[in-house]
Amino acid sequence: MSTGQETEIAAVSAAVPEEALPAGQPAEDAPINSVAEYLRRWWQRVRAGDLGSLPIVLGLVVIVLVFGSLDDTFYTERNFTNLLVQMAPFATIAIGVVFVLLLGEIDLSVAYVSAVGGVTMTLLLRPGDPGWPWWAAVAVALVATTAIGLLQGLVVTKAGVPSFVVTLAGLLIWNGVVLLLTTRYSTSGTIRIQDPTVRGIANNFLGDFWGWVVGVVSVVGYAISQIRTSRTRRARGLDAKPLPIIAFQVIGLAVVAAAVISFANRDRGIPISSLMLLVLLVFWTFVASRLRFGRHVYAVGGNAEAARRAGINVDRIRIFVFMISGFMAGLGGVMFASRLRSVATNTGGGNLLLSVIAAAVIGGTSLFGGTGRVVSALLGTLVIASIANGMGLLNLEQAVQFIITGLVLLAAVLLDAVSKHRRAGLGLT
């Protein structure tokens, strides 16, 4: 279901060549609200360097086509649901990273902070010792990782130390804590999770029926919010998205959602973790784009001095964002632990950190701060997970996987730099 978000954008971009042709669309009262005008402006933004999610969606299509043609199993239902299960924790952590990047900061500690979350929960769940209920264990784990974010945020803001260094120290510290906890409470270095609810997060699936319910609710919810926004804006005499465009996007979303759900239902269904990811994406997108807090995050990332003079408490925003990063890392850690049904000494290690940061950047969040969207966490994770999944199916060695993922990341960063140049140099008009 999580792909619904992504493909909604795909639908928009796909709409361009088709919608541009029938110029005979009934023009709205004001020319500014017409379909043609809307598309013209969209194209103008793209040319000015505001590429949005366009490159990544095109990239995803290419990746899917390439791996699909190279390996027969890539397109199977089983592989699709596997992919959904694999990517949920990555995307969850990447959402937190997006917020940090929006500020123009970095959080290198997310991988081991997520491990701290997973390990804390697992230890509290051990039957009889102390054998906490799942919700209490998860809550304490999330409080712990959020507190870590708070701590790191305080050092960054109050001591004025660059976040790169603070979170690099955090990376080492929390790695140590994870090792300490896992070796102390187990001899083998692996602690299993027995709790069925926690194991279910990443291993249970929605039934066919509930899968469809989620799909219908998502599409209807999207349609209602779009139409309401358009109505209010029109009522005030402002430029509004033309109804044909909204209809096209809603239908596009519905088609994609239906495809995803029916495809997943032919295997095990929509994973619970994908539903969680969808809820998180909607929630954090709302926070970033509709709340005053989100606006201030963008402002601080774009021009911290301007934000400060506008009366925004810049330090508070920064600290909150590091707390979000810690919270989302903890949640991702819980999902990881659930997927593997255990935590171990190497939890949080490997290329987890680089994958989530790469995901946020590949998804279109600028490293320079101030530009990006929450959904880019999903898009970037889709790219990285698809590449890893596809190359795994092809039995390519890890070395090749690293090199290719690295090249994709490099391409994404270059695109970011070039489009930033274009935005600054060309401007509009």
């Binding site: 505001d50 021009n303 001095e305 934000a307 009366g311 008009t429």
Partner: protein, 271 residues
């Protein structure tokens, strides 16, 4: 013209360590008037403005609003008193659109925290229209794409949107071409029609003589004098900026003591 100044500073001083940036400076501006603040680099223009804006606190002296003393210890106090400053760097967030910049830090919300985008956009358009700013193609474009004059217009419009009564413009035309300077100066004039008190800091005497009603000249942190634009010449003002007589000789700080003449010698030039 009302005789009572809307905003007045009385004998304000500010020192940074051993450096006396301002020494017993008087300054005032009336409603509906453009008061220019002129002086060479290091004359204390910025320090005076930053004190009024609440970025610094004056060591001594008083700030009066309509004759009543007010206390400004932070930019918030200053904004609460109806004083808005447009700094030279404009303090716009390039990555945000015009509407978001206009309402930065004072966003309108529904249900407590949710941004009320449509009403902010509506108000932005009205404010820009009322100031006859017509060069913007869309209030939803990001500031990155705007020209220098358009950015200045946005920053000025932002400052008048908040029931402000005093608008302080720091070098608004410094980075602009001829046509855009023209537009900005027109905009400055339009502010006075709203009965705002406008303070214009500028190095450019052409600009000053074009829009200002009066000119306050500072030199080395002290008053040189206040000139009526209509009754003075650029030459006279240049002379004041470069070599105006001071009450107190810099470099003799301690020997002089604070008991020297209280009034700058050239205040006779005032009226």
């Amino acid at each position: 013209m009302a005789d009572q100044p809307l905003l007045a500073c009385r004998a304000v001083s500010k020192a940074f360590g051993a450096v006396q940036a301002l020494h017993r400076v008087d300054f005032e501006v009336r409603a509906g008037e453009v008061m220019a603040l002129a002086g060479d680099n290091g004359a204390g223009k910025s320090t005076l403005i930053k004190g009024i804006a609440g970025i610094y606190t004056f060591d001594e002296g008083q700030i009066l609003m309509e004759g009543r003393p007010i206390h400004i210890h932070s930019p918030r106090d200053s904004a609460a008193a109806g004083i808005e400053v447009v700094y030279q760097d404009l303090a716009l967030a390039d990555n945000l659109d015009v509407v978001a910049n206009m309402f930065l830090g004072r966003e309108k919300t529904r249900l407590g925290r949710v941004l009320d985008e449509s009403s902010m956009e509506h108000e932005t358009q009205q404010t820009l229209e009322s100031l006859s700013v017509t060069t913007l193609r869309s209030v939803r474009q990001t500031v990155t794409g705007l020209s220098g004059g358009q950015r200045q217009a946005v920053a000025v419009a932002k400052s008048v949107m908040w029931n402000s009564r005093v608008v302080i413009l720091d070098e608004p035309t410094a980075a602009l071409g001829v046509a855009q300077t023209r537009q900005v100066l027109d905009l400055v004039r339009r502010l006075t029609e709203r009965d705002l008190a406008v303070v214009l800091i500028s190095h450019n005497l052409h600009d000053i003589f074009e829009v200002a009603d009066r000119i306050t000249v500072l030199r080395l942190g002290q008053n040189v004098g206040v000139f009526q634009t209509a009754q003075t010449t650029q030459q006279e003002v240049v002379q004041a900026i470069a070599a105006g007589t001071l009450s107190r000789v810099p470099g003799m700080v301690d020997a002089d003591g604070p008991d020297d003449a209280t009034e700058p010698t050239q205040t006779g030039a005032t009226e």
